[in-house]
Symmetry: D2
Subunit: 249 residues, 4 copies
Amino acid sequence: MPSHCLNGGGWILGNLIDGTQAERVRIPHADYSLYAIPAGADDVALVMLSDILPTGFECGVLRGCLKPGDTLAIVGAGPIGLATLLTAQFYAPAESILIDVDENRLAWAKKLGATRTINNSDGLAAEKVLALTGGRGVDVAVEAIGHAASFDVCQAIVAPGGHLANIGVHGKPVQLNLDRLWSHNLTLTTQLVDATSTRRLLRAVSDGRLDPKQLITHHFVLDQMMQAYDTFAQAMAQQALKVIISNLP
Amino acid sequence: MPSHCLNGGGWILGNLIDGTQAERVRIPHADYSLYAIPAGADDVALVMLSDILPTGFECGVLRGCLKPGDTLAIVGAGPIGLATLLTAQFYAPAESILIDVDENRLAWAKKLGATRTINNSDGLAAEKVLALTGGRGVDVAVEAIGHAASFDVCQAIVAPGGHLANIGVHGKPVQLNLDRLWSHNLTLTTQLVDATSTRRLLRAVSDGRLDPKQLITHHFVLDQMMQAYDTFAQAMAQQALKVIISNLP
Amino acid sequence: MPSHCLNGGGWILGNLIDGTQAERVRIPHADYSLYAIPAGADDVALVMLSDILPTGFECGVLRGCLKPGDTLAIVGAGPIGLATLLTAQFYAPAESILIDVDENRLAWAKKLGATRTINNSDGLAAEKVLALTGGRGVDVAVEAIGHAASFDVCQAIVAPGGHLANIGVHGKPVQLNLDRLWSHNLTLTTQLVDATSTRRLLRAVSDGRLDPKQLITHHFVLDQMMQAYDTFAQAMAQQALKVIISNLP
Amino acid sequence: MPSHCLNGGGWILGNLIDGTQAERVRIPHADYSLYAIPAGADDVALVMLSDILPTGFECGVLRGCLKPGDTLAIVGAGPIGLATLLTAQFYAPAESILIDVDENRLAWAKKLGATRTINNSDGLAAEKVLALTGGRGVDVAVEAIGHAASFDVCQAIVAPGGHLANIGVHGKPVQLNLDRLWSHNLTLTTQLVDATSTRRLLRAVSDGRLDPKQLITHHFVLDQMMQAYDTFAQAMAQQALKVIISNLP
């Protein structure tokens, strides 16, 4: 469990010390966290492997115990939700339902492999998922936002015996409906990415089973740093998923 | 998952239809739920296998993924908590900490194998468990009461990467502290007993690895039915764990 | 483990009693083994679900613990090997290497998703697989023929920590090279199909993730029964995989 | 899988370089393989944790997937077999059957927790185990010698769906009876000890759940080195299990 390593390791960059927006950077415990970029690989695509793809894969897909033939619902079609969707396809789910309030993001989800999308602007997503699944709910529900409302959708739609994999960073406690769920054979998980899947994901990129570039919507050069941050801050309005800042013109 | 079987099965007796306090009873789907009592077995002891032992074992020990060497805490030293404690010993935990507010029940817990007991009358159980475990918490925390307060102890003491196995029947929602736990690599489970472990438990009783009679504190005959119920209703005051009603004098 | 059920169940048809080439048939323990064909489904395609697809999936893919990104080798590109190949794709292996001596079958394998094929007519398949994998070998080796020679290829190519899933029906003992493999962290499995995956496979056919018709090469009507058997008996020469006999003209 | 680590690590001492019978020794990759001895611990007892206890536990108990209530048979009551027996008790098997040809070792096995012992001098151990288990065989069979004959006992007695965990170091190939076992739902494993359980075993010794000293039969000082080796070379005749050489009088 590298994410919780007490003795060196754990979540350091961007948490305990500053991140890496610099020309050179000292990486603590580099032996355990750096990977050689394969010859001929696309540097820009591999930026997606530094965080969101292992996060979606480990905290959503693997912790959610997704199996071939499962029905999967992902609440949140932002970059993390879409990274979950992309890597979920390694397990051939029968259905991948993406839920969001933004039509543009749901259109991206469709392009990236969602079998259905639900716009939850009307707050009826849970009812719709239950209707789609004959009242049973989904095998795996992934919370990819970090809000009480999206957590509530997840706990309403997970089937008996199902998995609720929380990825979202929550700022407040949530209500867990144990009055209904105590007998539901539920497995609820939380996880800080361990980045133990990086090698596997690198291989998937190399052999074409995974195309991380699909998550990149905007490119900036270093001089446009502030503009890049502004774009990402208003990601939904700017129709942005991930934003790349590079020193290449 | 027999507990949630839609097509016959599921939780029927005492839930969808009346229970079995009668001289004869028709058991739906009996092929899947009745077991022959081995010759020479103690009928009275085996009553404990009808519910609390599989509940403690399946919903607490197995769902909590208890492993040899783990530190286990059980919140609630009533019959279900003690059934969990008894069956936890199949997995040789390093520590079995029982938490309750009743000294008599904690004394029972000691007798049944708890390595430590904590009286939570002062509301400081969580702090004490953290102190005992060097601040890390326990590998497996079992909620065996069904109250928000006992759930709170569990979520406060489960270590990063640990398991919180809820057994208690909750009448209300609880607060889940995802603001702290989102990154805790927590696995939280709920479970309605499936009784799939009955055969294994029967064997454990037969070969002496499990002594369920230890959970029985009171015996009544049929004429004392009301007295038996009164005793169980005031279990703590009566120092009662499980109560047997039989037609034998 | 339905395949070894002692108390009713187990492998009955074609083993303890005659098979089902008749217009009507009495199926023992039918409650556990018959599935309703979904409306609109293709009867002929679903014949493939009666045996070879669950066999390849359960005995090869699931018992071999295939994971996304694994390197898979299947020795034998007959119907069972190809059923393994088709269902392996639910787990997105990085490489699926099919080994056989028949070019026609290897061409089928390519069409059905093999990333590489090796013609073992020269007996050098093991060396070639080791060369392809930098000397390490494959994560999962599936024996899909039932001969000592194909078993030998598997035990030569499985990587340390890998899985050797035997599906083939062997008429004789084989030699297991424990002098080399005792320290190899090998997991070797055998399995009689349990058909517990039938519902999942039915769903995969229904939603288009699996196309079993690809395994059918020849169609006959009942009057051509003997011709159908002759064709299957000389499957390799006839370029036959699976043969359908129906009462439809 | 530290035992097969290519990049530093793996099995070095006593394999690629000389072992540690010296007053000082340089340990390659010491960060990953040395553990601090807890204050107050018995140095001599902990010698058993350097090899045989993790070997028995990891290669026999864990790889054999022993579960509470299982029937376990261990073929070979030498130090490795007895280390397997001791650590198997973490999982509360219903039966632990030890098989050997030496009455003294079988008497040790009884003392260390075997529920039954079988002297295989007559070559009838397999028949006796099958008779004891109603013809079904055992859930877990552990090969702890490294001979074809002991492997044969294991493959004869493992039940359908069971595990055959090979620990023994084999000098020659064995015959694997796939003509019978192809349909037996067998899991056969081999394993070189990874020593990943050392911390857990240390804790089990510290809290009294495991007493490794029981495996030590003879003590020598450095001056008696040759005598110690002679004793171990004729272990059976000398009624020796493990032999300690120390610099303490």
